[in-house]
């Protein structure tokens, strides 16, 4: 029983961070039809910025939202100055389909190099602001403690805010319309290019939160070549694909499925199988339900 509970808690805490990453990939995909591999670098940069802010202010609770705002600004900057120029200049021929993806890979390398240049290539430590010792109930010690609980609650709160913004506000309506049918949004008087930048900004904030929460919830160590962040990108992407790549609720559902499946494998089978299982899950979804669990077959209209 306690093993099952552990599996559930491990799965959900991993899922909460995958969900943020998946959402940021979905937002970028929906607004510009780009799979943003640089998201791993942007999240890593935000984690370093979080580290810098914590070491200057000494306060994690101020640093987290501040780093998210800076992450949003950086992401908007990338969209405005890099992606816009790129999409304008390479919009024809075979290069048009691949150029944005290659560019995000290039950007990933640039960001990692810049991080190494500023903070050095050694390990820096972003300390957890709360205890990671598991809660105790009688004889059993749960997998998560105050830190893990905070991560889950914070992500749930963020998801609620995102849902309300997208479903209930005018900006959300503009964001959805521009994603599904950019031409009709334009014809309705929406400034679609500005909305696109906003989509990237929200993605940047979600990615920043993912990066910082993953770091403090994990070992706390950061390096420019961090393998953990590459895995975060891969798992976030798989979660987004499971959900259909178009859908925000789908991304969250995909993250929960992925988190629980990987936790199950880790607890009941073997930790070494986690990656294989993640990719088998990805392939299975692509073959059996390529539009994802909550994606629409219709896709986007011009």
């Amino acid at each position: 029983m306690s093993q099952f509970l552990d599996m559930f808690l491990i799965g959900i805490s991993a899922a909460s961070i995958y969900a943020l990453m998946a959402i940021s990939m979905v937002l970028v995909w929906r607004s510009t039809r780009v799979v943003n591999f640089a998201q791993a670098g942007m999240a890593l940069l935000s984690a370093y910025i979080g580290y810098e802010l914590v070491s200057r202010t000494g306060n994690f609770w101020i640093s987290l939202p501040l780093a998210m705002i800076l992450g949003a600004a950086f992401s908007a900057f990338i969209e405005f100055f890099l992606m816009r120029t790129l999409l304008k200049h390479s919009n024809q021929g075979p290069i048009a389909a691949i150029a944005p993806i290659i560019a995000t890979l290039g950007l990933l390398g640039v960001i990692r190099a810049v991080i190494g240049f500023i903070w050095g290539h050694g390990d820096v430590q972003l300390e957890a602001p709360l205890s990671k010792v598991g809660y105790k109930f009688g004889d059993t010690t749960l997998f998560i403690g105050p830190m893990g609980l905070f991560v889950i609650c914070f992500v749930v709160a963020l998801l609620l805010v995102v849902t309300i913004v997208f479903q209930k506000t005018n900006i959300g309506l503009a964001l959805r319309a521009s994603a599904y049918a950019p031409e009709i949004a334009q014809l309705s008087g929406i400034r679609v290019s500005g909305i696109r930048t906003l989509g990237w900004a929200i993605a940047g904030a979600a990615g920043a939160a993912a990066g910082i929460l993953q770091t403090v919830n994990g070992t706390g160590g950061l390096t420019p070549e961090s393998l953990e962040f590459s895995l975060l990108l891969v798992f976030g992407f798989i979660a987004a694909v499971i959900g259909g790549l178009e859908s925000l609720p789908g991304a969250v559902l995909g993250a929960v499925i992925l988190g629980l499946v990987l936790a199950f494998v880790q607890i009941y089978i073997s930790g070494t199988l986690v990656f294989i299982v993640a990719f088998i899950l990805l392939l299975a979804v692509l073959i059996l339900r390529p539009q994802g669990f909550l994606g629409s077959k219709a896709g986007r209209r011009a």
């Binding site: 005018n170 049918a181 219709a298």
Partner: protein, 235 residues
């Protein structure tokens, strides 16, 4: 008024519109007819800013239609319903309507426009919470026109609203378009393959043929013109 002078537009090497000139007085309904590939849709897309022109000029009152993006023209009172049920399929009926009025940033005015739309198309009111892709073709077209109307346009560009609809539904849509012109004071330019139906409700007609103007005048005169009758009206 809408003034188009020497408008020339190309798709790559193919010239879609060649030196097209005509004007539309404020307040009327002008039908643009012609066969497939005559340049009707290109004309509409150029006027709404979706397509750029090679040369010529097009103005609505004092506003230059050949400069700036579509969202800019909408704010100057020019709305375009593009070909093929121009609604956002994944949004509800009411969200599509709200989308049309978003840029106005005036909830009270938008509410008023929405009430007018629901009065014109009661069916949309019944289905306001349904997702747009669950609507029938006719209802979608009603929604597309209504979405454009929510922007409070002075000039409404409609591209083939009758496409793929049953005759009875076409009749209803055409009557609604006439109503928008007569009672709501909107100037409408209507592109149609259904030439006879469009000329019957229109005040003026423009006949396009391979990118140039073949005839232009009062709709009743065009219907009576033997050359237009045989070439475009089929009798």
């Amino acid at each position: 008024m809408l003034k188009i002078n020497g408008l020339t537009v190309s798709h790559g090497a193919i010239r879609a519109l060649d030196n097209v000139s005509f004007s539309v007085e404020k307040g009327g309904l002008t039908a643009v007819i012609g066969s497939n590939g005559a340049g009707k849709t290109t004309l509409m897309r150029t006027l709404s800013g979706l397509k750029s022109a090679d040369s010529g000029s097009a103005t609505w009152n004092d506003h230059n239609l050949l400069h700036g993006k579509p969202e800019h023209h909408v704010r100057q009172g020019v709305s375009h319903v593009s070909e093929g049920k121009s609604v956002v399929a994944q949004l509800s009926v009411e969200e599509n309507l709200d989308l049309g009025a978003l840029w106005r940033r005036n909830p009270a005015e938008a509410k008023k426009s929405k009430a007018e739309v629901f009065e014109l198309f009661p069916r949309l009111h019944e289905r306001r919470e349904q997702q747009a892709d669950t609507l029938s073709g006719g209802e979608r077209q009603m929604l597309a026109i209504s979405r454009a109307y929510m922007a409070r346009p002075q000039l409404l560009l409609l591209d083939e609203p009758s496409l793929g609809l049953a005759p009875l539904v076409i009749e209803q849509i055409f009557q609604s378009i006439r109503h928008i012109v007569d009672s709501m004071g909107v100037t409408v330019v209507l592109v149609e393959q259904n030439a006879m139906g469009a000329l019957r409700i229109a005040d003026f007609g423009v006949v396009l043929n391979l990118g140039t103007i073949a005839a232009w005048g009062r709709a009743s005169d065009l219907i009576a013109d033997p050359a237009v009758r045989t070439a475009y009206l089929g009798f």
